[in-house]
């Protein structure tokens, strides 16, 4: 986990605008496309089978993300979430995703879709639920 964080942190330094430092405990979102703005999510340790929320921040002030889509699945068990989440924009390039429920322990893959100027940037991240 520490190694992973360190890896992600170095990744963050190389790809994101330094104007948007990632907080130390944040989860870096890994973009599919190189030119996507750097982004990270902040959350407490996800509880098992109980709703929780995360804050998602996009780092390029020149690209104001208009909408955010979120989904998550467990690759090992071939299933997703039993609920849809609620997404609200709380500031420029900052979104709250709430009512996320990971109902089983294990590795969850998070998928983000950020809409900007008719394009969609996609990102992924992983969290381990205990």
């Amino acid at each position: 986990m520490i190694a992973r964080t360190a890896f992600l942190a170095s990744f963050a330094l190389s790809s994101s605008a330094l104007a948007c430092p990632t907080p130390p405990d944040a989860t870096q979102l890994i973009p599919e496309a190189d030119h996507a703005p750097a982004a990270y999510a902040e959350m407490n340790t996800p509880p098992l089978s109980a709703p929780f929320a995360m804050l998602v921040t996009f780092c390029d002030p020149a690209q104001k993300i208009e909408a955010l889509m979120f989904d998550a699945l467990m690759p090992a068990h071939r299933h997703g979430m039993n609920f849809t989440v609620d997404v609200s924009k709380i500031a420029d390039n900052r979104f709250e995703v709430s009512n996320i429920v990971f109902h089983m322990p294990g590795l969850w893959e998070l998928q983000f879709g950020a809409e900007f100027a008719g394009r969609a940037y996609t990102y992924i991240a992983e969290v381990q639920v205990k």
């Binding site: 098992l48 089978s49 090992a76 071939r78 299933h79 979430m81 039993n82 609920f83 009512n99 205990k130």
Partner: protein, 378 residues
């Protein structure tokens, strides 16, 4: 002389060997961490914000009386207690419930139901009081309608207690009365809580680092627990202090009905939930902030819901055979063999990828059963 010393030495060593074999914690650090997640128990008592008589002592005693009162059935022949018999852990010991006819499902026991996310095998309701409406109004169970229930209550000895809680009945619409009766019953059912078991003593000892005390937990149960959190994969679904994640899974139990057709399980449960005016998002909830309503608003239909049922708690389960939504498995040993030799054909393509034959030996199966029993010995 010499041989006596040696013999005594051997004996002492045998004894010490024996006692250390009998009194040991065999769990690894990782297994101890997993074990800790199944507690602490009991959980804090929480009141249901959607039920204004939750925790009210008058409501609890009225609920207890009503629970066994034949007045709750239209023809005054059965009550809640006919199926949820307090002498039988609030169930009936039958594979499937006997109402006016044999129902499709097994009668659930009523332990530890305060403020859960879903109720019923398929989660038709999102509150305990809403769940109680089903048997009251189902023609195959208590068979009332709102008016007949109201009339029965008005004419009954319970009217003063009811009015002390909810006010004058004269102008009260029948639907209000019906919901209020459900809430009174819920106030009572919420008080049915199971206590600390030998598993909980073990877990508490581990939590406080008291290995000597923890070592009193039988070795066979410890081995069973290792299977439960390990290669048995049980804790993926039977997680947390109540040994359920409160959600729905397909556990490869056949869902064909004796009378033909299938029991769609959660797939139908979601439909019923969507049609119901009695959810936490609706006007009958007493919680102005509608705190629990996110679940019904956000619940998502998925193909995998078909044939999925709510993961049952395993607390007190050893006392409530037979098992599964259709009562098709006679005893705990049969449940274990069901998982051990799971029929992969029964799981649809998008079903659970974690269920697979376990290859348990007879000894493993006995250990697992010993462990399960330690969740019911309170």
């Amino acid at each position: 002389m010499n041989w006596v010393v040696r013999l005594v030495g051997v004996l002492v060593c045998l004894l010490c060997g024996l006692s250390s074999a009998q009194a040991d914690v065999i769990l690894s650090k990782a297994e101890i961490d997993q074990t800790l997640r199944h507690g602490p128990w009991p959980p804090e008592v929480v009141l249901d914000p959607s039920n204004r008589v939750s925790g009210d002592t008058t409501a609890i005693s009225l609920g207890e009386v009503l629970f066994s009162d034949l007045m709750l059935s239209r023809d005054r022949t059965i009550s809640c207690a006919s199926c949820h018999d307090p002498e039988q852990n609030f169930t009936d010991g039958l594979p499937r419930a006997e109402g006016r006819k044999t129902l499709d499902r097994n009668t659930q026991a009523l332990w530890n139901l305060a403020v859960q996310r879903w109720y019923g095998w398929s989660g038709d309701s999102d509150s305990l009081w809403a769940q109680n409406l089903t048997p009251l109004l189902n023609p195959d169970e208590l068979g009332h309608d709102e008016n007949s229930l109201r009339a029965a209550l008005v004419a009954s000895v319970h009217r003063p207690a009811y009015e002390a809680l909810f006010g004058e009945m004269d102008a009260e619409p029948a639907v209000e009365t019906t919901v209020n009766v459900s809430k009174v019953l819920a106030a009572y059912i919420e008080t049915l809580r199971s206590g600390k078991t030998s598993f909980d003593q073990f877990r508490d000892a581990l939590a406080s680092g008291d290995m000597k005390k923890a070592a009193q937990y039988p070795l066979s149960a410890q081995r069973g627990l290792q299977i439960f959190v390990g290669r048995g994969n049980c804790a993926f679904c039977h997680s947390g202090p109540a040994f359920t994640n409160g959600e729905f899974h397909h556990a490869a139990v056949p869902f064909f009905l004796e009378r033909g057709g299938v029991d769609p399980g959660r797939a139908e449960g979601i439909d019923r939930l969507m049609e119901s005016p009695f959810t936490l998002a609706g006007e009958f909830s007493d919680d102005g902030s509608k705190a629990g309503a996110w679940a019904v608003r956000n619940v998502r239909f998925q193909h995998g819901n078909f044939g999925a049922f709510r993961v049952p708690t395993l607390r007190r389960a050893a006392r409530t055979a037979p098992y599964m939504h259709d009562g098709s498995l006679r005893d705990l040993a049969s449940v274990i063999q069901h998982y051990n030799q799971i029929d992969m054909e029964r799981l649809h393509s998008d079903g659970e990828a974690i269920l697979r034959p376990l290859g348990l030996s007879d000894q493993d199966a006995e250990d697992l059963e010993d462990f399960l029993r330690t969740l019911s010995d309170d």
